[in-house]
Subunit: 102 residues, 2 copies
């Protein structure tokens, strides 16, 4: 590990093309169905959305509620751990807004 750099720990969890975006959207529209996330992040393919959600879930950052109905229904939400990422996500959001000048 790089000299005293806890950032790498964080990176391992939120590095991924869409993970931070997913967390961002969840933090606003929680709980959220799969299809709702698709609408919120249309540039992210269904496949990638499923993959990233699975990783986030197995990392304990999000929760998945499955309703055994027909048609099936799932709801995603942030876990307590996932919530703690808020400061990072909010900071990235804020920075993105201020640099709109780009």
């Amino acid at each position: 590990m790089t000299k005293d750099c806890p950032i790498e720990n964080t990176l391992k969890l939120i590095h991924g093309k869409w993970k931070s975006v997913i967390i961002y959207q969840l933090s606003q529209y929680q709980p959220c169905r799969f299809s709702e996330l698709q609408k919120l992040i249309p540039e992210c393919s269904k496949r990638m959305l499923a993959l990233q959600l699975k990783e986030l879930e197995s990392d304990g950052l999000i929760d998945k509620q499955v309703y055994a109905t027909v048609p099936p229904k799932t709801e995603y939400s942030l876990t307590a751990d996932g919530q703690t990422l808020q400061p990072i996500i909010a900071a990235m959001d804020q920075w993105g807004r201020n640099s709109k000048k780009v």
Copy 2:
């Protein structure tokens, strides 16, 4: 662009295996020579370090001072824009520390 998600702007600039780590180290040991960065981030290959530095520079986040001496010497530092990323980097650092339990 995803529905009102400035995060993507931010991501474009700091997404990359080592960019945030580089910024983190620079924020502490600025200004920093190429070889110093190598020592600080030994897991990052020379090639990647050069590439990421070049991208960060062309994105206006870091500054590169070249001294036309023999042997050559360069010094990297954060630009004002780069400094504004501090809140994000600090948040990631902080989160990584608290989740050491992993």
